[in-house]
Amino acid sequence: MIASPIAQLTDSEILLWTILHNFEALALKQYEKNVLVLATPEKKELVELLASKVPTNKAMENTSLEEPVNNLLTSATNSDEIHTLIVQGILLEILGQTIYRTFKDSDAFTSATHALCLTGLTAQESIREETRKLILEKIGSGDKVYEVFVSISRPVIMNLDALGESLDQHFSEKFGISFSDLMGEFVAELISTCMDLGMDRRKVVGYLTSTLMGI
């Protein structure tokens, strides 16, 4: 699908894509360093496109988003292959997928954002199956992958949750989508992905509950 006519990103959209650019650029960097096969041409194309649309972090500087976004980026950075598969390969890809799917059809966004969302979804589609295969091969399935998933993902999910209030401050009214709406979609997709890797649904739900409820 080609979005037409090509519109300019609004200021709020520039802020939104600045954040997403940070996560996509980190994902590509992590893939290139730790899991090269996931640094697909589609992923590179997305990051290059985002770099052309939002080349700097200026929109995010000195906002209430800067600190929680940086905390999340820091917790998502690691030189380990398994960490990258869990954090970038599962968590943040699912988060991106949730955001792109939700925004691509929303009238609250311009066609420029719709087009970027489609490119994002294509990039994710290009790595989804390979990520699943690699996780099963390198970590295993069921309780084995559950234990690794829990030990690695907790700080990242907590930092993601901590981002919620600031995201709502900046975007909720403008775009009519709240953080908890997105989290609902994200968690549903995450549970489904975890079950696909053989994890026990009850354990995954219990873990996500305790992490997101801060207990």
Binding site: E147, V150, S151, S178, S180, D181, M183, G184, E185, V187, A188, I191, R202, K203, V205, G206, Y207, L208, T209, S210, L212, M213, G214, I215
Partner: protein, 389 residues
């Protein structure tokens, strides 16, 4: 810190929710408490926490804090080496209130609920402690039929969580350690019976409320779906927990096991508690389910479904028809223990306190009422048009 010429107890987990209540209870009772602290926890922080809790409960916070001594808590395997230091401080009893409540993190549960308990038992032996007091849970029996008795449990057909299993295993360690012991098994602890004040994390009933606040309170809505079986919800107020724990330590003979829960007759059912909560939000359509199999696979929005998911483990536990023996608590009551049982009205006190503290819940309540008013007005207009035509 002064060398003691009087007896004192080592209280593990003093900065946790239940541990701090117990610490406050013992200090108010004039006893000496030695509290090992770890990480960023400080004596000043613990005293501040105790004072806040006491003020919230309308108790004079100016108690004798010289009776509270804090020491540094070493790694688990080095805990038995604290014996000499603790003997010098007059410690002759261990009260173990620390624990992991992570439902399924087997590694963490083992580290905290099993390994830490083993290490403390070893310390108790080196101290020749007069008693080892262990804070367990009423639900450690696992899913068993009939009355849950105040005895050590066998392996049940099924456990609600890995947590309950680990608590049962820890109880067995305490029972077999050779030291005199007391095991205290509270049910779900909720806020203060008079004002509803609660300083714990979002456990138990508070998880239900906090998850609702987080995931449901965002957009106004006219339909809600709840799991709400018609079985008693076993709860205890934090003031009753504190009074019961201290009374048990003072009055019960060695090797006692105590269920700390409210009288069965006064407890509300899960359905009643959920209805009371649902009644707050002015939604026009509410669905209650007795069993998870009744929840429709479609037609529930994702946030409501996620909330049902997030409360599902606790819902499973709550749906079991628990019945706890309370003979030991009855003895304490007869001996003068003032213990306020949970009723639907006292849950309401806690619920009101929770909602009053939550900006998000207040906003949701306002928005939903506005929406309801406009929906009602629209509906009345339609009725009028229809009547005219």
């Amino acid at each position: 810190m002064t060398a003691a010429n009087e007896n004192g107890m080592l209280l593990i987990g003093a900065t946790g929710y239940l541990g701090s209540l117990v610490t406050a209870g013992f200090l108010c009772d004039g006893q000496r408490v030695v509290a090992p602290l770890r990480g960023s926890n400080t004596r000043e922080g613990l005293i501040k926490q105790i004072k806040e809790d006491l003020i919230a409960e309308d108790i004079n916070p100016e108690i004798d804090y010289d009776r509270l001594v804090t020491v540094s808590l070493p790694p688990v395997n080095e805990i038995p080496d604290m014996a000499t230091q603790l003997k010098d401080l007059g410690v002759n009893e261990i009260v173990h209130c620390a624990g992991s409540v992570d439902y399924f993190d087997a590694k963490k549960l083992k580290e905290v609920n099993i390994d830490l308990t083993s290490s403390l038992i070893e310390l108790g032996k080196r101290l020749n402690a007069k008693r080892f007091v262990y804070l367990s849970t009423a639900f450690c029996s696992g899913f068993v039929d009939g009355l849950v008795r105040e005895i050590l449990h066998n392996t049940p057909p099924a456990d609600p969580t890995e947590y309950t299993k680990s608590k049962r295993e820890a109880e067995a360690l305490v029972n077999n350690c050779g030291l005199p012991f007391l095991i205290v098994r509270p049910s779900i602890v909720i806020g203060d019976s008079r004002k509803g004040y609660y300083s714990g994390k979002a456990y138990g009933l508070y998880q239900f409320w906090a998850a609702f606040e987080k995931f449901i309170c965002g957009h106004s809505r006219s339909v809600l779906h709840f799991m709400a079986p018609m079985v008693k919800l076993h709860m205890i107020h934090q003031d009753a927990f504190k009074a019961g724990f201290v009374a048990a330590c003072k009055n019960l003979p060695d090797n006692s096991i105590l269920h700390l829960t409210s009288r069965y007759e006064t407890l509300p059912t899960v359905r009643e508690v959920v209805k009371q909560w649902a009644g707050l939000w002015d939604v026009s359509e509410v669905h209650y389910y007795q069993d998870p199999s009744e929840v429709p696979p479609t037609g529930i929005d994702r946030r409501n479904r996620m909330w049902l998911d997030f409360t599902s483990v606790n819902n499973d536990i709550a749906a079991h028809p628990w019945q706890f023996q309370t003979a030991t608590l009855d003895q304490l009551r007869t001996a003068g223990l003032k213990f306020r049982d949970v009723t639907l009205d006292t849950v309401r006190v806690c619920q009101d306190n929770f909602v009053a503290q939550s900006q998000r819940a207040q906003t949701f309540l306002r928005k939903n009422r506005d929406q309801l008013t406009s929906r009602t007005q629209a509906s009345e207009s339609k009725t009028l048009i229809s009547a005219v035509s």
